[in-house]
Symmetry: D2
Subunit: 339 residues, 4 copies
């Protein structure tokens, strides 16, 4: 069985494990106050012009929960695509902190200023929640990415309307290394108030780097992390990994590899006349396949059925830094045989 | 500098790292639904007569937050020693889930039935919170441990009064391998409703095993974990580690080592006439030292000053599976020289 | 200026004020534990075959907040029409207790089993909230009402799928006294787990009667009320009012009056060719009127503009126990003149 | 039976009921946006030099819950006397909003700067909650009152340490009209950030006036009120009552009366050699009485037994605007007879 189920099926990239092995018997301070976390922060900060604050966290839901509850007052809400991870796949983690998610319809995982504006304007007065934050993910839940111009428009709207802008970067590496991408980490830090750089889905055992771009939001962030059960005793475990990821651009190399494997996959699929559902240039591909073929493929491959249909269904295929060209080729061949 | 600051200064025991390296390129299912987590659960379940449920979590605060919010209804509260970790060192993580902590005074980190009863009886009616859970840690925040008879008394009181009994086992290994201990894992599973076996402070990179002993409390626990941001995408990272810890009794071996190092330390300290403040048979020792000597020691050692006094202060010295006899001897020698 | 803005513009019906005046200097126990509250409960209980529990609360949002947070565990969610009061007009009061509202599209304020089922089936697994309650209001936000058969279907679905069924009865009087209604209070108590009988919008100064039909949900309800700031010190203030409302069927008389005034209004409107937007047999009417006429009417009448259009807009007209036929006639005449 | 159980046993003072009767058929805007609420605010504002914001709320727990959750960020906590209402008698209402209460020991219901400072200094770092508010009540739970100098000291400490200062004024009238009092409403507005003027325990059916003194805290307060289920549809019900209370100083007249009755009571008690436990100059008196006499008194009077002893117990006797000299005299005579 080979899995295209997600990009977190393997423990970690060998460079990361090597560095962990190297420091295995070294003593370090707890809670991320160690020299490796410090060094990793310095390595990441090189990408930014402004003086951001960085905290290493344990996972995506934890990041989103901490960021949103840290920023909002009790009656404030966050605007998100209806397909957004916080709205669908976090078991109510955001509402558990007391905040409503205002959803905006999305066709491809992205949201536009006109939708945000509509949601914003439809909320007023003391009987409704106060929209105070826009949440997007890049790449999105459906693999699509935002252009610089799109983010600039959202950022402008947020600034004009006193909204925070937060970007879920669980797969930010995939977005930034996509061929169509025109954004840099520095751009992002200038456009939003907070975002995170995902490690879990890009080669790390676990760990995300929360980047706080807005000076006013830095205060108390470590208390918010602790309060949410997100402060790792051995914080250096994540520090060392981000040290590895941001040495010699490993972070970007791994994402590029994942995207390249996705391209190999979609090229093969297109050759078979398979419909690619969303215009994704990243490592998540949603494709429509005959149910009979799906059943056949399931004997040798793992993947998620995203939307079940009577004859055809949409399946999600995810590649990663660990995906091999051989696995892709074999998948395409097997699919061809089963059509 | 050598650190006696805590028992989570080194990444992980070599057996754990070896196993992680061994499985580094293997594909696994996410969220703890993998074969390693399954195997680790089987290994742990061998210690229990009853059919417990096990979930691997990321850390102690996360465990406590999840357990308590999972068990209590909104108006219910948890009784804890005033020195309890949930009361003092979790940044309000429990209150953030909406629950009050009713504190009971404690001299040595332990609480007794008479204190629990007093707290229980002083709460009645609809204007007060309803005590519904007793929280203890074993070993306690001060290194002391509970006897079987003591836990039986608390357990009996809880059952008679319809209270849940939850044990924070961040340092359960140290408790169970102390010379004075007369408890087994199986005893604990029979006496309480939920507890956790701490990995972070006993050789793992991160990870705790939450053991749900009460059948009625199993439902929805994984949703509670996800909701609290405590579900690791690469759950097998913890599964593999507990597989290592519960193979050949490594878990107990590591704790024994930590306690043995603590014994070596206290023997040395007693030889110097140093006062051991709490009767701790485990790897946390609280000792009273002249401030001048403390300042001298700080040049070469890290440790926490627990309670500052004018002439003498209480410092906390923590040993672990990684502590060396050499480090202890050198510390004793340096302390002797500085007195 | 005459107001058709809502059904809570006047203090209270004279019978209620008379009874309050009568008992003005009497001493009573606090927190609803008085003889008037007791008597009012007995009067209401006569309508039910089963042994319900009754608590008098201060308002609708408070009722909904208390009911929902009392019933749900942290990871559980409530299904509601997207137009539902809890989803739109309670400033995030439900999310503030930690629970997600799963919305179901509604055209006329009502939801059907097929919609509930779709929402129910689309939530599974530990990464999503667990639907555990269905919320409806009767009459709805748009004045429409449910038939007995409709409620039976929802109730059946809820029982089969282990969901609680809760009915917001802010305007239950209007629903039960509508000509088209075929439901009784007793029916409702047999079909749902909890509901409330609204006093505020039916002649009381303030106050709603929360009816707990499901035996298992009674425990702790008063603690939940206190916890949510909903327990009135002078609970007898509400007790006396419900004593008045449920003496000589005043509660139903007042609602009937409100509905009758609405009928007078819609008859007049239909005579003018005005479009009635929703099939409401109760005291809330949504009608489409030329913007010019709206502006003219505003000089003499208060009402809410529900949906603004370029030429025509939908306005909401609410009648109540206090509305006079004269006011209706004058409104119709003025509207006629302005068309 | 005559009740000395509390100061909310009677519906309302006749002047309040008269005004309610007067406006019984008048139409008013909802949610406190009516002319009576406006007028009442103007009447209250006359007592202040600074431009405070005023909101009328439904009860004390609701006020405290709203004020505290409105002011604090998730990781921040409130310092209170261990005897404080929010700590003991609100069923966990504050913790339900996510905030810890840091308790300070109190002998007579009051807290001093030295205690606050100790609590403040003992909390630091990201593993602990951040003290951000001081909560006191005046008069206190034990009937005692603060002097201007005492409040100035607390206020100064709060300003120096960036803490909010909030005063629970459920019985502020009793405090301000005590013979020993040297504070004015204006003083209070200058010393704290937020407080409330209690109506429920001083002659109103229900209602408290929340006074927001700190400009920065005004934003969003009405959303916080709605969110907490504390916004009354018929807000004018409270507005009219405060209009009555602040016309011709009725508010102060009623409190004076309550205190005067308490004085009559304590004079009588002292004459019998009864021990007055706390130095209370207000309408709550705690007195130590023989258990035999208590049992005898209970046949004719209601009161709370505060602290049960083997031979003697402490009982609480509360007077109010409605207490008659006859009731006091009769109580004293009956007590004398039973000793």
């Amino acid at each position: 069985m080979y899995s295209f189920k997600n990009d977190y099926s393997e423990l970690a990239h060998e460079s990361i494990l090597e560095l962990l092995n190297k420091y295995s018997s070294e003593q370090n301070s707890g809670y991320g106050l160690d020299s490796h976390s410090e060094k990793a922060k310095e390595l990441i900060k090189k990408y930014f012009e402004k003086d951001v604050a960085i905290e290493f966290l344990i996972g995506g839901t934890s990041c989103n929960k901490i960021a949103i509850s840290h920023l909002l007052r009790p009656y404030e809400a966050v605007i998100s695509a209806d397909t957004g991870h916080i709205n669908v796949h976090e078991a109510g983690a955001i509402e558990a902190t007391g905040h409503k998610i205002i959803t905006v319809p999305s066709k491809d995982g992205k949201i536009e200023v006109c939708d945000i504006e509509k949601a914003f304007l439809s909320h007023s007065g003391e009987h409704m929640v106060v929209p105070k934050m826009v949440y997007i993910s890049n790449s999105t839940e459906l693999g699509t990415i935002y252009t610089k111009s799109e983010l600039e428009k959202i950022s402008k709207f947020c600034k004009e309307n006193d909204l925070y802008f937060y970007i879920d970067g669980a797969r930010l590496g995939a977005a930034l290394t996509a061929n169509e991408n025109d954004l840099t980490l520095n751009d992002i830090s200038n456009l939003c108030d907070m975002f995170y750089i995902g490690g879990t889905k890009n080669g790390a055992l676990l760990g995300e780097a929360l980047i706080i771009c807005n000076e006013k939001l830095k205060k108390g962030i470590r208390n918010s992390i602790k309060l949410n059960g997100g402060m790792l005793a051995k914080g250096f475990l994540i520090g060392i990994q981000f040290e590895a990821l941001f040495t010699d651009e490993l972070f970007f190399t791994l994402s590029k590899k994942a995207n390249k494997m996705a391209k190999l996959l979609t090229d093969g699929l297109k050759g078979l006349g398979i419909k690619i559902v969303y215009p994704s240039p990243t490592n998540q591909q949603f494709v429509e396949v005959d149910n009979m073929a799906i059943n056949k493929l399931r004997e040798k491959y793992q993947f998620e059925v995203w939307e079940k249909g009577n004859e055809k269904s949409i399946i999600r295929l995810v590649t990663s830094w660990a995906t091999t060209p051989e696995a892709i080729k074999s998948f395409i061949a097997d699919l061809k045989a089963s059509l």
